[in-house]
């Protein structure tokens, strides 16, 4: 891969195959994420989108295929090299995954304390800045359990942003939030994007968010990518599932159950 390519594409996935036992969850995924864009992975429940995300951040090792981060093979790295790469990544978890035993401020400060040799006073200031960024200034002494769901997600975002990452991953950012809070989070994601020129990868099934935050979208179904492009390109697609997804039409009664059964048994 040439240097130029590496600059254009922050993440490149080649022929990714992931299996749980005998069941193939992701089957030959190929995608590239450009520097500075927000890339949305869209799909129904159980289509493998969370699995794809877990592979991208290295929480799972794929069965075969490669993932390149900034042109370097992430799948073949030693644990130490992976840690270096991870310092440049941030991730927002579905349930925020804040450490419940620490205050919000300590949560945000943790990566700084562990990975940098900054003075405690500097860390404190940086923590305050990050919390301010997500609209939670003054909440550093609260425990995560004392915050609402939306606030926890914001705090999770502040923690993900603590090390000033290049790439940020969001797992279902609006899941479990009411529409107003979800919209607030969407605009926060957009704001982060514009302010810091981050590359973002968002996993979601929330159609309302996609148009607002996504530059490009890929649609997953049954472990394969069935469509990729801008929102308009995807909308214009004649793939029946994409049409169905966009129009929110339900599966015909019965077919859904048969599909589901097949997906959990792995049989054809």
């Amino acid at each position: 891969m040439t240097m130029n390519d590496a600059n254009d594409y922050v993440i490149e996935v080649r022929d990714l195959v992931v299996r749980y036992g005998d069941r193939t969850v992701l089957d030959g995924i190929n995608l590239k994420v450009k520097r500075g864009e927000t890339f949305v992975i869209l799909g129904g429940s159980g289509c493998g989108k969370s699995t794809l995300l877990r592979n991208l951040v290295g929480l799972m090792r794929p069965h075969s295929g490669r993932i390149f981060i900034n042109g370097r093979d992430f799948t073949a790295m030693s644990e130490r090299e992976r840690i270096e790469v991870r310092k440049r990544m941030g991730m927002c978890f579905q349930g925020s995954a804040l450490f419940n035993s620490m205050t919000v401020g300590d949560n945000v400060a943790l990566p700084l304390r562990e990975h940098t040799k900054l003075e405690e006073s500097t860390i404190e200031i940086m923590t305050k800045i990050k919390l301010e960024l997500v609209g939670l200034s003054g909440f550093d002494h609260y425990m995560p359990a004392e915050l609402s769901g939306g606030m926890r997600k914001r705090a999770g975002l502040a923690r993900a942003m603590a090390m000033d990452p290049e790439i940020i991953f969001y797992d279902e950012p609006s899941a479990g939030l009411d529409p107003i809070v979800a919209a607030g989070l969407d605009s926060l994601i957009r704001k982060m994007q514009n302010t810091f020129n981050l590359t973002s990868v968002v996993v979601t099934h929330e159609m309302a968010s996609v148009g607002l935050i996504g530059d490009r979208v890929c649609m997953l179904k049954g472990g394969r990518i069935i469509g990729m492009g801008t929102m308009d390109e995807l909308r214009a697609s004649d793939h029946p599932f994409i049409q169905q997804f966009f129009e929110r039409r339900p599966e015909p009664e019965g077919a859904e159950n048969a599909d589901y059964l097949r997906s959990i048994t792995g049989g054809d």
Binding site: L59, I83, F93, A97, F99, N100, L110, E114
Partner: protein
């Protein structure tokens, strides 16, 4: 028939895999305790001290109370037989040796299993369910370094300390009951105890307690990382942690008792 053989094979394989995973965890933990700090990759001293306080200092009242009562109970039960021979003074020997060699290490270990082993499993399990372990990894923080190493170090320091205290408290229990209820002369009781005990009793007791600590911590951690699903998974693994831990403690106890009998 074939299905039965298959089942036996699968169970064995699963057992072997579990053992392998425990070994990997052990090596990883030892690496983070012994090797990594020398290479300047840091041991979490603060967290270790906090855990030591939790496992050791905070367990002391309950360990002390139970061991005191156990000592008294032992003295009472022993007098039931020894009184018939007018040999109540030998209660001191019995309580002393039993406490040092067996009961103090065992009671401490079982109490700590219930109090701290279960807490370790529940904590790590809950963190797994809430994706906190994943969050650590994504941040480039090693969960073994961050969560396991401090607990392990605290546990192997706390349990031997508690055990030594428990030994003396248990003898104190026996002493109190013997002198107050059974009217054994305090001086005689003391001399009997001092005469009966040898250094080996203390050493074997402490060595055992060290391995009990290893068992409690590793079972607790291993079960914690095994949690799947939600709150139900945490409950299931916590129960299993306590049961496995007590079972293994008895096995280790057995092994060492045989070993020390011949050595």
């Amino acid at each position: 028939m074939i299905s039965m053989i298959g089942r036996i094979g699968r169970t064995t394989l699963n057992g072997v895999y579990a053992l392998l995973r425990v070994c990997v965890l052990m090596v990883d933990t030892l690496n983070w305790i012994l090797v990594a700090p020398l290479r300047g990759r840091g041991l979490r001293v603060r967290s270790t001290i906090e855990h030591f306080v939790e496992f050791g200092v905070n367990s002391l009242p309950i360990v002390a109370l139970i061991c005191f009562l156990m000592g008294a109970i032992m003295a009472m039960q022993a007098s039931y037989q020894l009184e018939r021979f007018g040999a109540t003074r030998y209660i001191a020997n019995l309580v002393g040796v039993a406490a040092m060699r067996e009961l103090a290490p065992l009671m401490t270990a079982i109490l700590l299993t219930g109090r701290s082993g279960s807490a370790i499993t529940a904590e790590i399990g809950t963190m797994r369910v809430a994706e906190e372990i994943d969050a650590l990894e994504v941040m480039g923080l090693n969960p073994t370094k961050f969560l396991v190493a401090p607990k392990f170090l605290a546990m192997i320091l706390a349990i031997p300390c508690l055990t030594i205290l428990a030994m003396f408290i248990m003898m104190l229990g026996g002493f109190a009951l013997s002198t107050v209820v059974l009217h054994v002369d305090p001086k005689v009781y003391f001399d009997q105890t001092a005469g009966a005990l040898v250094m080996k009793d203390l050493v074997t007791g402490v060595i055992k307690s060290f391995f009990f600590a290893v068992v409690i911590c590793w079972v607790g951690v291993y079960r914690g990382f095994q949690v799947e699903g939600g709150a139900e998974g945490v409950g299931k693994q916590t129960t299993s942690s306590v049961v496995t831990s007590i079972f293994l403690i008895i096995l280790v106890d057995m092994a060492f008792t045989i070993l020390f009998y011949f050595v």
